[in-house]
Structure formats: structure tokens, C-alpha cells
């Protein structure tokens, strides 16, 4: 089950934060096709997010074809996201965790790491 966390001070609208967290959970295999997303009430009660915000996030995911709302029973994951198989993902996570530990001991903060990842991904560091 995904647990949502909303950074209230962030400039990133809350409904997009929720959508992004569902997408990430799907990419990481925590949410599989057929899994049910938490009910709107559950998200409101546990994360302190407005019901309209949750509905908006779920609608956006539905429009993107990632989830489907079934009347009376909830919202379910429909598609799969991400191209990696779990058996490929696990060793990559271990290697990456070691790399992050190394980066932190070299004094890098999270923002430095994000910047570095973005730079490498965009090919800027060649």
C-alpha cells in the first residue's frame, strides 16, 4: 500500500505530488496492475490532504490511462510502468545505495545528489 506524503511548503501542487508518488510506486513495483489505491477517505485521514486534491490526483492518473475507477469498489492500477523487471531492479538498487552512501560520506547533500543525477541523465557530464 502506498503511503502519501505531501510537502505543503513545496511549489509543486499537492495533487501532482500524489500522482508522482503513485507513478514512482508503480515504477518500483510496489503497485502492480490490479492493486487498489487507498480510498479517498483513507488518504484524507492519514495524510491530511483535502479530498478534492486526492480526487483530482486520481482523475489525472485515470486520464493518463494508469488507473481505473470502478464504481463502488475503488480505484485500481490498470497499467504497469517502468521497463525493469524486479530481478534487474534489486541489484541496481543495491549498487545505487552504495553509491549514495559514498556520495554522502563525501559530504554531498540530497540536492547535490539530485543535481548530479540530473546532469548525468541529460548527458551533460560527458
Amino acid at each position: 500500500m502506498v503511503e502519501f506524503h505531501v510537502d505543503r511548503g513545496s511549489g509543486f501542487p499537492a495533487y501532482l505530488q500524489l500522482g508522482q508518488q503513485v507513478r514512482e510506486a508503480m515504477r518500483l513495483g510496489w503497485l502492480q496492475p490490479g492493486d487498489r489505491l487507498p480510498t479517498v477517505r483513507d488518504v484524507v485521514a492519514t495524510s491530511g490532504v483535502n479530498a478534492n486534491t486526492v480526487l483530482k490526483a486520481y482523475r489525472e492518473l485515470e486520464l493518463a490511462g494508469l488507473v481505473e475507477a470502478r464504481v463502488g469498489s475503488g480505484t485500481f492500477v490498470k497499467a504497469s510502468l517502468g521497463s525493469a523487471a524486479p530481478e534487474d531492479l534489486d541489484p541496481l538498487r543495491v549498487t545505487f545505495a552504495a553509491w549514495v552512501a559514498e556520495a554522502r560520506s563525501a559530504g554531498l547533500e540530497d540536492e547535490d545528489i539530485y543535481a548530479l543525477v540530473r546532469e548525468v541523465l541529460s548527458g551533460g557530464a560527458q
Binding site: G9, G11, F12, P13, V44, A45, T46, N50, N52
Partner: protein, 264 residues
């Protein structure tokens, strides 16, 4: 359809006009003396507007900032008072709220902490089963953990009962994801009225070389110029920009501060 509509003027309010849909959560934000409390008092029917009108569908409960209650009442008496004074009274709902925050029923109001008093007035307000709940700085006396818990509980009440919630606050950093609507006031005027998410998506901060004119189309909220640099906060709707300019979204707090600075 709207459940709350206002179009009012009063000594400290000038042509404030808005409509809110049922089940919406609205934050009223603004500097001290901007008219937030006056607006809430007018909505609650405690003050008559000099001109204009308000219309609210259903029952209204209002929790004023100083939380007026008889000091010598015990907590249990406050609930009895609520039962006698309200045509509709949901005692379980009020009791549950007090249970949740472990408020001793035998204590007198004057012996409670500010936070405990907050819970008693919220229990009283919710017990009256309001369709519209008006709160003036409801979280001011709560610690950060209690603030979160109360926000979660209030939003759950909104979700379960279709209540419309309107609250004023100074803590802009806490309303993201909580309020779907933002009313920003300054000097009795409504500076900004919009959906919180939409406002965040519309406002973009552009930073680049010194320029006397905004690099993109759209209303400029605030322009700042350094010796070699300029920055423009523009309600551009998210227009992208080429180098050497950079663009980034702003936080709700930056957005509010910029509008207030401009309004001065």
C-alpha cells in the same frame, strides 16, 4: 452552485466578492489588519455589511479567534450549553472530538491550556452539525503535531459530511494540499482569489540578465532588479523560456509574499 456567496463592503472591507462551492476548503490569508476577521464576522452574521449581501446555505458555526466561553463552566457544561442552544445537536460527535484529545470533562474552562480550549470550541462547533464551519486562526494555539492531527480530522469531517470549511491563517506553508481555495486579502481588498493548485501552476519566477521588461507574456506580479540581474514573477500560466533566462515555480509562501509586497 455555491453554498457561500459574498459581495460586501464594511469599514475595513471593500468590494470583497466571492462564491464557494459546497464541500470546499478555503484559506483566508493576509497581513494583520487586512480584514480577515471582519470578513469572517460578516459571513457569520455577527456584523452587518454596509452594503452588499452574503448568502450561506445551511447552518453556520463560527469559532472566533479568542474562543469566547464562560470561564467558570466545566467542559461538560459547555456541551450541555451546546445542546440547549442549538436546534440540531450531535452530542456523540462533540464527545468523540473531546475523547480524541483527552479533554477532562470536569475541568473548568479557565483551567484549560490554550490548546485544550481550542479542542473544546471545535467540539462545540462540530456538535452543532454545521454545513459551513468558519474558523478564525483555529490552529494558533496548537503545537505542530496537534496542528497536523486537527487538520486531518477536520478534513475527514469535510469529506464525510460534505461540510464547507473556511479558515483564516498566517501559516501559509501549512495550507498546500489542505485548502483547495485561497483568498488573499490586503487592506480590506481581495488581492487574489483562486484555486491553490491553479495558482501554483500559473505563477512562474523568471530570472535572467538585467531587463526593463518582462521576458514573457502575462501579468507581472513583482519585478526585482539587481545590478546585473532581473527577476520577474509572472502569472504566465507556465510559459517556458530560453537561456540565459531560467524559470522555476514558486512556493505558496513566495506567491503570497509577492502579492502582498505588490499590494503595498
Amino acid at each position: 452552485m455555491s453554498v457561500v456567496a459574498a459581495d460586501v463592503s464594511k469599514w475595513s472591507l471593500r468590494n470583497v466578492s466571492f462564491e464557494l462551492p459546497p464541500g470546499s476548503v478555503t484559506a483566508i490569508v493576509g497581513s494583520n489588519g487586512s480584514g480577515k476577521t471582519t470578513l469572517l464576522n460578516v459571513l457569520a452574521g455577527h456584523l452587518e455589511p454596509e452594503s452588499g449581501h452574503t448568502s450561506i446555505a445551511g447552518r453556520v458555526a463560527y469559532v472566533a479567534q479568542h474562543k469566547p466561553m464562560y470561564k467558570s463552566f466545566k467542559v461538560a457544561n459547555v456541551l450541555q450549553f451546546g445542546r440547549r442552544m442549538n436546534e440540531v445537536w450531535d452530542n456523540d460527535r462533540a464527545e468523540q472530538w473531546l475523547d480524541r484529545y483527552r479533554i477532562p470533562r470536569k475541568l473548568q474552562i479557565e483551567d484549560l491550556s490554550g490548546g485544550q480550549r481550542t479542542h473544546v470550541v471545535l467540539a462545540l462547533a462540530l456538535g452543532s452539525r454545521p454545513d459551513v464551519l468558519l474558523l478564525d486562526e483555529p490552529l494558533a494555539e496548537l503545537d505542530p503535531l496537534a496542528r497536523r492531527k486537527v487538520v486531518r480530522e477536520l478534513l475527514t469531517e469535510v469529506n464525510d459530511n460534505g461540510m464547507t470549511l473556511i479558515f483564516s491563517t498566517h501559516v501559509v506553508a501549512e495550507i498546500g494540499g489542505v485548502a483547495d481555495r485561497l483568498l488573499l486579502m490586503s487592506n480590506g481588498r481581495l488581492l487574489v482569489d483562486g484555486e491553490t493548485d491553479a495558482l501554483l501552476e500559473e505563477h512562474v519566477l523568471y530570472t535572467g540578465p538585467h531587463a526593463s521588461k518582462s521576458p514573457v507574456e502575462g501579468p507581472v506580479v513583482l519585478a526585482k532588479h539587481g545590478r546585473s540581474q532581473s527577476s520577474y514573477l509572472v502569472r504566465s500560466g507556465g510559459t517556458r523560456i530560453d537561456e540565459p533566462w531560467t524559470a522555476r515555480y514558486v512556493t505558496l509562501e513566495e506567491l503570497v509574499v509577492a502579492h502582498l509586497e505588490r499590494g503595498q
